[in-house]
Symmetry: D2
Subunit: 89 residues, 4 copies
């Protein structure tokens, strides 16, 4: 069900990107293009948030409760890398 919701959002984003391409072909006003691109980015952020939320509620919990310390460290490090990418000015 979560997966279906994510797929649905990605399908919609794909259509949104195609819509912006059509706007470019029709010589739309630059600022309107920029607003649509920002809307697509907000939609992608929602997908990212959802995917990360699923991740920390499943994989992260399993690994942190498990005994493999190397794997735990890897999972925590990956989460930090994703956060760092997201905050880069």
């Amino acid at each position: 069900m979560d997966r279906d919701d994510t797929l649905c959002r990605l399908k919609s984003i794909e259509g949104h990107v195609r819509g912006v391409a059509r706007m470019v072909e029709n010589d739309a006003y630059c600022i309107d293009l920029l607003r649509q691109i920002q809307a697509i980015q907000a939609a992608l952020n929602k997908v990212s948030t959802k995917v990360l939320d699923d991740h920390i509620h499943s994989c992260l919990i399993t690994v942190v409760r498990g005994e493999n310390q190397g794997e735990r460290e890897r999972v925590l490090k990956e989460i930090m890398e994703v956060y760092e990418m997201a905050t880069k000015v």
Copy 2:
């Protein structure tokens, strides 16, 4: 030519989004999904930068050199809105 480059980039982004959907269908690892989404965001940023660059080198110059002060104010305000959206924490 600029338009062709923008269209080419959007086409590629559309394919990238479709690729992420396929990864979701194949139960890809969450962190790999997040990395791909961040790559798409970076690609969209490049399109935005290009579109804004075209805008300030054409529309902005015309309007600022023109005599219609209301239109000039509108164009500057739009640019500020786009910037504000981009910097919102």
Copy 3:
């Protein structure tokens, strides 16, 4: 007046940063620190927006209406660099 407002905001941000340092000294909860840092980032974004707004309403207009094409190009390029930094994922 605009300058006074900007100075006032920066003075307040400086105090905010000092406040976060005090929280660290008092072993505040990590998440509370992160929230305060995000509030500081938002305040800095407001200052940036104000500074850029002043810039495009004074310097940009003067240069675009002037005859020095090299200087115009430099000013437009600087604005694009600032925007690119702001949008970097």
Copy 4:
């Protein structure tokens, strides 16, 4: 030691903010102000990353390995909120 490093970074950021205020008083060029503000934001991002990294390596691990499911849920939710704030377009 980690705390000392964080305090040291915050002290340096505070000085950086004061430096930008001085630039404003001395009528520095707008674009130079913007660049300095972006440097301050990058420095704040580094502090955030460090604080979150400490958090997930201490508090998060303790809570996830513990038995209090309500508290675990709260900690995961807080991390998601911090991430969402960071990614907001």
